[in-house]
Amino acid sequence: VLAVHSVYFTDCPMPTVRVIRPGDAGKPDPFTICVISNPALESPWKSSQFQADPITNDEAGFDLCVRFVEQALFGLLPEQAEPFLSDPGIAPGVRLVSLFVSGLEAGDVNSLVAEDGVSDLLIARRARFRPFLERYGLIADVAYAISQSDSHTRPSAWPATDDDSGPGAAFTMDGATFHHRHRCIVPGTVAQHIASVPLTALHEFGHALSSYSNGLIVDLYEDGPPAVNNRHGRPIPERFAVYDGIALASDRKRDGLGYPTGWRSFHCELNDPSFPALMDNYWLAHDGIPEHCQHDVVTRRFLLDRVRAKLAR
């Protein structure tokens, strides 16, 4: 923790804002990641029925979870192979803020997480994040809401909705031009359980930092749709894609896991071919240590380029 700063508001009971990493203090809106204690759960999702989230009574547990999120994003977990935001050209510019708040009414405007009605997924109520954070003077590029749901424990994430009317850094993917936008309309959002394995915060960040209009990062453990990190075709070609003028090879073996019969998907070359990609099923790491998994080549480049573009705004 580089700095701790608490702010108390009179209109909301007991909020605590902690600046875990200050980021580029010279900028009015540095690239910012927020981690929030979810005040209220919608259960089930889209029901408009709300209840207080038990995490509102566990500030110490929330603070520990924030620490794990920070460690995962900055490559600081024990055994972690993926360095991600630890790049010395990136880390000092990233602002990380936590917000713990309790005592709010369990209603629509205070509910950032829903319990899915057809799974054990926690689902971020993405449209609520921005107005909620604005009440505390915060703007996020990516935001986590941490829940202590009794029944739903599986994290999930939504990519961001970019502000495509604003500036950004152009890039090409297989000849088509896209932009790493400086700002978003809806931030990337993650719903995570307080007891989730810390590495999952890094996996979900991969989704949440990506964009519906400028490139999705999808799960690689399913035969998913075409995306920045997923292509369709058989036989699998040697070349995965050309990203910003750089030809990237395909992962023709899927890191030793193999592509199931009938799949159309294939993935990009790996930074460490002996372990599954971080967006793939990291529970299947051959040594049983998911923290040994790293992003594949295109995923890491795309995500870090996106961070650099936002740092430069």
Binding site: S119, R154, S156, H203, H207, Y221, E222, G224
Partner: protein, 77 residues
């Protein structure tokens, strides 16, 4: 979406003889598809079919509910 642990997948099949591996594959694929679709777009017939099918598969895979599942315990792995 956090990947399904192999032991969780095995337990779903052990506890529900009516469930097949293909059911879990389809269920997981449909769940993942949700997040790859911009939720700000108007609901499409395809999305409605997906949610309907997810509900069917949920009842098949978890006839007693999913209370025994835990994705949240491995911090002390």
């Amino acid at each position: 979406m956090e990947p399904l642990k192999p032991e969780t997948r095995a337990r779903i099949l052990d506890e529900n003889p009516q469930a097949a591996p293909e059911d879990i594959d389809e269920y997981e694929r449909l769940l993942a598809e949700r997040f790859a679709t911009d939720p700000e777009l108007p609901p499409s017939p395809e999305a409605e079919r997906r949610e309907s099918r997810l509900a069917e598969l949920y009842r098949k895979l978890f006839p007693q509910g999913h209370g025994w599942l835990s994705h949240a315990s491995p911090r002390a792995r």
